[in-house]
Amino acid sequence: MNFWNDPINFVSVWLRSLFSGWGMADWLVNVLLAVMGIVVLIICAMILDIMLVWVERKVVARFQDRFGPNRVGPFGLIQPFADIIKLLIKEDITPIGADRIIFNLAPIFAMTAVLLLWAILPLGSVIYGVDLNVGVLYIIATGAIGTLSIIMAGWASNNKFALIGAFRTVAQMVSYEIPMLVAMLIPTILAGTMSVNGIVQAQNVWFVILSPIGVLIFIISAIAELGRSPFDLNEAESEIVAGFHIEYTGIKFGMFYASELLHTFTFGGFIATLFFGGWRGPFAETYPLLGVFYLFIKAMFFYWVIMWVKYSMPRIRIDHMLAFNWKFLTPLAFVLLIVTAVVDKVLAQTNYHATGLLLANIIVGWVTIEILRIHARSLRKKDEIPAQPSTQAAHH
C-alpha cells in the first residue's frame, strides 16, 4: 500500500514503527499518535478558519456591492492575519461583577464545540478522526456544548443584553435541535447506520435526491443552530447590541467569531456529507486526498449558500422564529420522517426505491405548500375585514 491510497494509515504505521523503535510503551505510542492526529487536525481547521474570515469578508462585500479587503497582500489575502494580530493585542477586559472563570471558559467551550465536530467529519474514504457508530447523535451533542458556551457567556457577562441574548440562543437552539435531529435521522434510515462515514459510503445515490425536503429542513435548522441570519437573534445588533458576546473583547471575541465561521463551514461539510455524498467523487475511493478536495468544494459551496441566505434575508422576530419551528418545521420533519421510513421499508429491494422516495418527498412538499396557501388565504381574509373606526375609537 502506498501513500496515495491510504495516507493516514501510511503515516501512522511509519510513526508507530519510529516511536517503538525509540522504545516507547504501546499505550504511550497510541496516546501520542492520537494527540498528534488531533493537533494536526485542529491546526488545519484553524488555518482554514483564518482563511474563512477572508472568504466571509470578500463574499459579504460582493453581496453588498463592495470590494472587501483588497489592500493587504494579493486580494487582501493577508487581511485576516492582520485582524488576528489586532485582536490579540487588544486589551482583554473582564467586566466588574462578571463571573470570571465562566466568563473565560465560555469562548473556549465555543471553540471546542466546533472542533469536536471535526473528530467525526470524514474528509476522505480513510481520512477521518474516528468513525463513531453514533456519529449523528454526536453532532447534536456538540451542538449542546455550543449552546452551553453561549449561555455561560451570556450569564457570566453580568449584563442584561448578554443574558437576553443567551436566553434567546438557548430557546432557539433547543428548539431547532429537534427538526435537525429528525432531518439527520432520514439519512440514518436510508443508510441503515448512524456512523457518518457509513452514511457517506451508502450514498451511491446522493440522499438529496431521495429526500430533498429533508435537505431543506436540515439546512434551515442548521442555520438556526449556527445562529446566523435570519436567525441571528442572539446577537441582534439592532435590539440587544451584540447579544451574548457584548462584553467580550480581544481574542475572546475573536474565538467566538472564529468559532461561528468554522461552525458554519463545518455544517456546510455535514450538509455535504449527509446528503451530497460527502467526499465521494471520481477516483475518490482510490485517491482519498481527491475526496478531501471534493468535500472541501462541496462544503465551501454550502458555506457560500449559508452566507447567501444570511446577507440576503432580514432578521425575523423571536416569536415568529419559535412559531416557525414548532408549528411548521417540526411537524413537517416528523411527517417526512414517517413517510420516508414507511416508503423505504415498502420499496426496499425494489427498483423503484429511489423514485418512490423522491415521489413521496414531492407529494409531501406539495401538500405542505397547499396547506400553507390555504392558511395564508384565511389569514388574508381575516385582515380584509374592514374595522369600523367608531368602535376602534371606543376601544382606545
Binding site: W27, G97, D99, I102, L132, N133, V134, L137, Y138, I140, A141, G143, A144, I145, T147, L148, I151, M152, W155, N158, L163, F167, V170, V174, E177, M194
Partner: protein
C-alpha cells in the same frame, strides 16, 4: 495500574469532586455547571463501559437539555447575581450522618456480595450492542411497552410543565 484504571480514577475523581462541588458550592450557577462536569465524567465512564450510545445520549439529554434547564431555572429564580447566606440548612450535619451511614451500609452490602470483585468480560465479536439496543427497544417481546410508556410519560411531563408554569394571558 494500567491505562484503563488511570483513566477510570481520573474521571472518578472528576465525578466525585464535581459532585461535591455541586452539593456544596454557594453559587447556584456554578453548581449547575459543576453538575455538567459530573455528567461529562459519567459520559466518559459510559465510554469506558463500551456504552457509546449512552455516552452521547448522556451529553445530548443531560447537558444539552437538563443542565440548560437547570441554569434557566436558576436564572429565573433569583434576584441578583450572587447567592449570599448559607446554602445548607440547619440539619446539614444530620444529612452528612445519614449519607455516610447509607454509604457505609451500601458498601457493607457490596462487600458481602459474591460478584463484587468481578472482572470485565469481553463483548463477543460481531455483536453490535447499538443494533441490539435498538431492536430491544422496539421489539414486542422485549421492551417496546416500557419504551412507549416512557414516551407517554415524557409527553405528559411536557404538557404538565407547560400548564404548571403557564402565566395566564
Amino acid at each position: 495500574m494500567d491505562f484503563m484504571q488511570i483513566i477510570f480514577l481520573l474521571c472518578a475523581a472528576l465525578i466525585l469532586g464535581a459532585a461535591l462541588m455541586v452539593v456544596t458550592t454557594r453559587n447556584m450557577i456554578h453548581a449547575a455547571l459543576w453538575l455538567i462536569a459530573t455528567l461529562f465524567g459519567v459520559a466518559i465512564l459510559y465510554v469506558l463501559l463500551n456504552a457509546g450510545f449512552l455516552a452521547v445520549v448522556q451529553v445530548v439529554i443531560y447537558i444539552g437539555a437538563i443542565a440548560i434547564l437547570f441554569i434557566f431555572a436558576v436564572m429565573l429564580t433569583r434576584r441578583e447575581m450572587r447567592d449570599q447566606g448559607p446554602q445548607l440548612n440547619n440539619g446539614w450535619w444530620m444529612a452528612v450522618l445519614i449519607s455516610l451511614l447509607s454509604f457505609g451500609g451500601l458498601f457493607l452490602l457490596f462487600t458481602n456480595w459474591s460478584g463484587f470483585g468481578k472482572m470485565m468480560v469481553n463483548i463477543p465479536a460481531g455483536t453490535d450492542t447499538l443494533r441490539e439496543l435498538g431492536s430491544a427497544l422496539v421489539s414486542p417481546n422485549a421492551f417496546v411497552i416500557p419504551f412507549e410508556v416512557a414516551s407517554v410519560l415524557l409527553l405528559a411531563a411536557l404538557i404538565g410543565a407547560v400548564y404548571v408554569s403557564f402565566r395566564g394571558k
